[in-house]
Amino acid sequence: MTNIENQIFSSYQKNPDLYDEIYDSEGNVKDVYQKLFDIYGGHSIQDYVNLNSKAKSSFFNQGITFQVYGEDNVQEKIFPFDLFPRIIDPDEWDIIERGSIQRAKALNLFLWDIYHDKKILKDNIVPLELISSSANYLDQMNGVDPPGGIYNHISGTDIIKHKDGKYYVLEDNIRCPSGVSYVICNRTALKRALFGVFNHYQTHTVTDYAENLLEQLESVKPKGVDIPNCVVITPGMFNSAFYEHSYLAKNMGVELVEGRDLFVENDFVYMKTIKGPERVDVIYRRIDDGFLDPLEFRPDSALGVPGLFAAYKKGNVTLANAPGTGVADDKAVYTYMPEIIKYYLKEEPILNNVHTYHCSRPDELEYVLENISELVIKPVDEAGGYGISIGNRLSKQEIEEVRKQVKETPRKYVAQPIMSLSVHPTYIDESESFEQRHVDLRTFTILGKDDEFVLKGGLTRVALKKGNLIVNSSQGGGSKDTWVLKKQ
């Protein structure tokens, strides 16, 4: 196949050391991308400049923005969106989907266990130290049976493709994973901008997320409730994910509440409506454990509801995700995921884990301290890509600083080999051309009482800065529409 006249890709620079999602190792466009590649080649670069600015203003007018807090002002920004979709063929998706469900289920069983019999600790599969030293383990959850037996109703799994062409999981997010609204907005924006391309592909829809979420949330209603009243609780409109909270509430057709809209009386939860109090049965909470209930957790929390935890413990209200799930998305627990999956499910892990060195173990600490330049050093309990040091990007002096920090508090750090995230053609504003950028994929898995659901799509995040490996939006990442193709 000749693509020489494909003008928009004529300047595309292929770095042979990187795994490119659309080219195979011989430099040919992969089959699934061929049609898209041809169609995109039929446009001029000027078309992309125009489409790109149209898409941007569409996001802006829809108010799909997040707030960036500067020194003296608050700016509204859009989450940068890329026009070139990522395509995942049905066979690969099958692995990702089964792998995501497997992890979510294993984590759920793990959480049940460590808040009940603690067999995995007694069998010394996961060290006790990991739990007893975790700030996210809630003693109050000991012996509590969450409705339907579900802890992590919603999981966000961060997956990458390494240069060996295999998928690896980088992180399991089971506190309040966000980003799903962008998946849906990206699809809407791409449909508006380039509707023609959809005719050539059989792509799974992503707009069924909210209805599936509601269905699964209703399945874990408290005992004795017939038709549950669900709500979404948000920290408020100044939260960076507020758009997502309101999107989900709106599309589930439920109320979006703040802590001050709720109150607890006789261990039941009510919301304050224009017609008086109305009982609430299931709360999809987008506030962290520590802020849920000032009587039980952080006393200074103004976001929570006094008495909420007692109502939960009595079984009168469901919280999704359950309090105390954070202990399992600790990066140190991540490293035991293969063992956790085998222990509870008696299965081999479907998705790979990146090998992890525990700085808390003396022999591994020694290896880490000596090989910082070849490793990624991550704090165990930071989210959002903060505090990560990538060894081969550090100066000598910086390496020394990291070494010092790790040595001081080894328990706080883990280290992993530097993974080479796959790259994908991405439209770049400054150069007005397509360039290779690193991407990852966050999948969204919902567990209900007897059922599970994985959104057929997911959020492909792009590190927009050249060569950057960190894709988080707070660190200047963008995103792409992600197509999961239907089986032929």
């Binding site: 603690k118 600790l121 007694k122 010394n124 006790l128 739990i131 007893s132 030293s133 809630l138 003693d139 109050q140 000991n142 109150f263 009386e265 006789n266 261990d267 000032p294 009587l295 039980e296 006393p299 006094p306 008495g307 935890f309 007692a310 413990k313 009595k314």
Partner: protein
């Protein structure tokens, strides 16, 4: 409750505990929520005969259970106020505590084996882990080390005595957030500090220990806080939890009325509240423990 149960041969004492709290706010309070953790706990040696709780706002008192399973009383107010008083009155029957028997040599060996097993550490991890208030200062040589030749119970008695000897009871030198570093360096503090030191050193030696908050019979002559007293409980293998009062160098007896236990003071604080108000406020708590029916015996 009017029917008193029939007692067996143990000695029991009947108490009336009166907890009151007066609060005066400089400005109007429009919205407030309180949670009291002051009700005596029900167990083998304690029985609640009567509960009475009043608040001056005349709102409903809700009875609930906190995250650790202890009974709480909650009051919420939606009317504005500047003054509020609470009064709880609890009638309790407290019986004498059984002490563990002296273990045999073989039992002693077995008990040390047990506390070193992983299963034991997992089961009791909550009361073996260090918390902010029970962190021993680092660097020093161990302050108190168990002697593995003698039984755990004997070691715990020695620890109780050690804390009693090592610290002086002195009010006003510490508060509820004082670290052990401070307490140990000044060698003084109040019952909370004694209990925290006891817990920290028991845990250091592999014995699960928990902080206990409760009331003390003031007529008994023991030293303790005029409001909530604090002591500790340690887990003795083959027996169970046993209360130690390091402030008085005794084990828990019929002069102690337990309310709650936890990892440290923070799990047991008697009053938690969310009060939306600006400006100053004054609070005055008081506790009166009356042993009005001297020693019932069958």
């Amino acid at each position: 409750m009017t029917n008193y149960p029939i007692f067996t041969s143990t000695m029991s004492k009947e108490y009336t505990v009166t907890y009151s709290s007066d609060n005066v706010y400089e400005n109007w309070v429009y919205d407030a929520y309180w949670q009291f953790l002051i009700m005596p706990f029900e167990n083998e040696s304690q029985e609640i005969l009567d509960i009475d709780f009043k608040n001056s706002l005349h709102t409903i008192n809700e009875f609930s259970v906190n995250g650790y399973g202890f009974k709480t009383i909650r009051v919420q107010s939606k009317k504005k106020f500047k003054n509020v008083t609470f009064e709880g009155r609890f009638k309790v029957l407290k019986s004498e505590i059984k002490e563990p028997p002296i273990p045999s040599r073989a039992e002693i060996l077995k008990s040390y084996e047990e506390i070193n097993s992983l299963t034991f550490k997992v089961n009791f991890q909550r009361f073996l882990k260090t918390t902010g208030l029970t962190t021993l200062p680092i660097g020093n040589k161990p302050l108190f080390k168990f002697d593995n030749i003698t039984s755990i119970i004997e070691n715990l008695h020695s620890l109780n005595n050690w804390v009693y000897q090592h610290l002086h009871y002195l009010t006003g030198v510490t508060d509820i957030s004082s670290t052990l570093e401070k307490v140990l360096s000044q060698q003084s503090g109040v019952c909370q500090d004694f209990a925290h030191v006891f817990c920290a050193l028991a845990r250091y030696n592999g014995i699960p220990a928990r902080y206990v908050s409760g009331y003390l019979n003031h007529e008994s002559g023991y030293v303790g806080d005029s409001q909530m007293h604090a002591w500790a409980e340690a887990f003795v293998p083959d027996f169970g939890w046993l209360g130690f009062d390091p402030t008085n160098n005794i084990i828990e007896n019929s002069n102690h009325i337990k309310v709650s236990h936890g990892k440290d003071y923070n799990d047991c604080s008697p009053l938690k509240g969310v009060v939306h108000s600006q400006g100053n406020h004054k609070t005055n708590h008081s506790v009166v423990v009356k042993n009005h029916q001297q020693q019932i015996q069958q």
